[in-house]
């Protein structure tokens, strides 16, 4: 009666593969697309404004006659790059501070937890906006602001899991055997939190891309003429009747990327 009945989860695995395929498709478009069809995302040709697809511009042209395909490829490089840089920074900071807080306990733990909770209480987008106003350079500002928002999640996960691991008999035994903190981290803590970190990283990347697009959409993020997903959507919104494909391209690309990342993160059944 103690044997748990194991239920296989083929569905979970399939979802994860779907997610990976969606993310891979977006990255292929971003990185290999411009090599297959050379072109300039900034080159204008007003004659071709809002005209349909052609071999040199597989997704047609926007209101200023710029190739949607090349602008989309550039946008799909920009947002994920900022997002991944921010997630990497936030992940490392959260991991380091979370482990430190769990290991030291006491005031270190209390102060870091209060700081994390305080940041959690602020709306993330507002925090990014404030940092954008302070830091020169929009990309740098996004990176700094998003890192500041995202580290809290990594910190909380790391701290909670590490506390449990550090209190376990296995760590006590390892310490009695004379091993130091580095070995404890490598053999006990990291294998335990690595899957959680990957999940949080995928969610974090999706959150960051979403935030960049949302701020671009309300004209307070990336500035024109930078190709950016949110900015492209709002620029093309007035021409939805004349050029529906032009508007749908960034929408579908954003949706596919975010759905892919969420599936990649969320279908982990552990």
């Amino acid at each position: 009666m103690t044997d748990a009945v194991m239920i296989p989860r083929p569905a979970g695995l399939a979802l994860r593969w779907t997610g990976a395929a969606l993310v891979a498709a977006a990255l292929v478009l971003a990185l290999i697309g411009p090599l297959a069809v050379p072109g300039d995302p900034f080159a204008q040709s007003l004659i071709k404004a809002l005209s349909g697809p052609e071999p040199a511009a597989p997704l047609g042209y926007d209101h200023l006659g710029r190739s949607i395909f090349h602008r989309l490829a550039a946008a799909l490089r920009l947002s994920p790059a900022i997002a991944m840089a921010a997630v990497l920074t936030a992940g490392l900071a959260g991991l380091g501070l979370g482990t430190w807080a769990a290991a030291r306990g006491g005031w270190t733990d209390r102060i870091l937890t209060i700081l994390a909770d305080a940041l959690l209480a602020l709306p993330g987008l507002l925090l990014v906006l404030i940092v954008l106003a302070i830091v020169p350079g929009t990309a740098l500002g996004f990176w700094a602001g998003l890192s500041l928002v995202l580290w809290v999640e990594f910190f909380r996960l790391t701290r909670a899991a590490t506390r449990a691991v550090l209190a376990s008999p296995a760590v006590q035994a390892t310490r009695l055997l004379g091993f130091g903190p580095v070995y404890v981290f490598r053999t006990h803590i990291w294998p335990e939190i690595a899957p959680m970190m990957l999940t949080a990283a995928a969610f974090g990347t999706a959150t960051a891309i979403m935030a960049i697009a949302a701020l671009g959409f309300v004209h307070v993020g990336m500035r024109a003429p930078t190709p950016e997903l949110g900015l492209m959507m709002v620029e093309l919104l007035p021409y939805w009747r004349e050029a529906p494909l032009a508007l749908l391209s960034p929408v579908i690309a954003t949706f596919a990327l975010l759905l892919g990342l969420t599936l990649l993160a969320g279908s982990r059944d552990t």
Partner: protein, 483 residues
């Protein structure tokens, strides 16, 4: 009239038989004990009889339950009988009670929903049930306010509320100390005396002896021996049963007492508490190389806390713990109750051990030389901790300690989760370690027999009393001569 009759029950996993044909019958008023070590198939047999096998296992055979004839291959047919004909006393019942429901409510619910009584009648019946079990005061308490023994009685009242005449108890004494074990056995026998049948599945020889009745000894899915419990345990005819009985601590030979060696540690006037409750105070003892100090006492009396203090993991609230001069910081080691929890989960055992040896200047081949000495196969090193049996893993844990060449080992209930034969192996190895490595050992056990036959001297801790925190110091009982 026979309450339950099972003919030629087999269990197979994907075509491989893991339980060979077993037949049994249960008579009113006569308990049946199924005895076997971990992996002997004793729980599978019970699950096959109840139709609760995991889905990937297939049972065959015929079960006659009262006037119902059932096919073990179709577990669906058993479902209507659960609670009405056949009741299961869960392992560790305090975990199976609803934590958000008062004791009486849990019994009332079973009377109401399973037996179909009206709510007022069910309530009255529940009150009567609890009264009979001596729980009149406890009806309005939540499970966390009940002691383990009371929770067990509530669980049995709820399990039997559906009117089941047959009670199946699967390892009802898992993790209990000797006093509680007898309490559970008496409770089960009292229920039996009210009519009905009792099937007890256990690896605990003392429980089997106390329950009596008839016995089936299982090993690796086959019946080894059957007969009246007293006969089987008094004069076993099969070699395996003899080994099993001989492995019962009550039948162990006394270990030769060791002369005092070099002192390893001295404790003077130790006191410690946990959560504001004084667990022990004014505790003084010393330990010399090669000797074993047994520590006994009921659960929650501070045995593990004493270990933490002696190992230097927690400070004593009073007194002094001093190690002999010149011992390495890693000279004090601990053997854990649950060996699975003491190894890194995600690393193969071989890698874990290979990490330890070089750190203490031991050549890697010391692992290879120790493996056969502890009766371990090299293939185990390629596995992760959860893929190795408890007995093997406890021996691997001992091997890991030996790589450090410890001078003191605190063994915290190292065999409480092992079956008797494995328990004897591990304890023998521990005694041998004390002798050959000149290691002092503190052996904690809830089994007074085991400690009495193993230790050079015994320290028995009195139960901690929450109401009068400072009164009860430990009684230091000395068996044999102190060095």
């Amino acid at each position: 009239m026979t309450l339950l009759k099972a003919d030629d029950i087999t269990v197979a996993q994907g075509g491989t038989p893991i339980l060979h044909p077993v037949s049994l019958h249960l008579e009113p008023g006569e308990p049946l004990v199924i005895l076997g070590e971990t992996g002997s198939g004793k729980s599978l047999l019970a699950q096959a009889i109840m139709g609760t096998l995991p889905r990937d296992l297939a049972a065959r055979g015929r079960v006659v339950l009262g006037d119902h004839l059932l096919d073990a291959a179709r577990p669906g047919g058993f479902r209507p009988l659960w609670g009405r004909q056949i009741a299961v006393l869960p392992q560790e019942p305090w975990l199976s009670l609803d934590p958000l429901m008062r004791a009486k409510g849990q019994v009332t619910e079973a009377h109401h929903l399973v037996r179909g009584m009206t709510v007022p009648d069910a309530g009255a019946q529940a009150t009567a049930d609890l009264d009979r079990l001596g729980l009149a005061e406890a009806g309005m308490r939540y499970p966390h306010e009940l002691s383990g023994g009371m929770a067990q009685r509530v669980a049995i009242a709820a399990a039997r509320a559906g009117g089941a005449r047959i009670v199946i108890a699967d390892e009802p004494t898992k993790g209990l100390d000797a006093a509680r074990r007898d309490e559970v056995a008496d409770l089960l026998l009292a229920e039996l005396a009210r009519g009905g049948g009792l099937l007890v599945i256990t690896h605990d020889l003392a429980l089997a002896r106390r329950i009596g009745g008839r016995m089936i000894v299982l090993r690796e899915g086959r019946v080894v021996e059957t007969g009246p419990t007293a006969t089987v345990m008094g004069a076993p005819t099969q070699a395996y049963t003899r080994d099993l009985i001989a492995a019962d601590p009550e039948n162990w030979e006394l270990r030769n007492r060791r002369p005092a060696g070099a002192p390893v540690l001295t404790a003077t006037g130790l006191a410690a508490g946990r959560g504001g409750v004084r667990l022990f105070s004014d505790l003084s003892f010393d330990l010399t190389a090669g000797r074993i100090l047994g520590v006994t006492g009921p659960s929650g009396c501070g045995k593990s806390t004493l270990g933490d203090v002696v190992l230097g993991l927690a400070p004593p609230s009073a007194g002094r713990m001093s190690r002999s001069a010149g011992l390495a910081p890693t000279a004090f080691q601990k053997l854990y109750q649950d060996p699975v929890a003491a190894f890194p989960r995600h690393r193969t055992l071989g890698r874990t051990l290979a990490d330890v040896a070089p750190r203490h200047g031991e050549p890697q081949d010391r692992i290879d030389r120790l493996m056969p000495r502890l009766g371990l196969a090299p293939v185990l090193l390629t596995r992760k901790p959860d893929a190795v049996s408890g007995g093997e893993l406890q021996r691997l844990a001992l091997l890991r300690l030996l790589l450090v060449r410890p001078k003191f080992i605190f063994a915290d209930e190292p065999t409480s989760r092992l079956d008797p034969i494995t328990q004897k192996q591990v304890i023998d190895l521990l005694c041998e370690t004390a002798t050959t490595e000149g290691c002092a050992i503190m052996l904690v056990s809830h089994d007074p027999e085991l400690v009495a036959r193993t230790a050079d001297h015994v320290l028995s801790l009195a139960p901690a009393k929450a109401s009068e925190p400072d009164l009860s110091g430990p009684r230091v009982k000395l068996a044999g001569h102190l060095g």
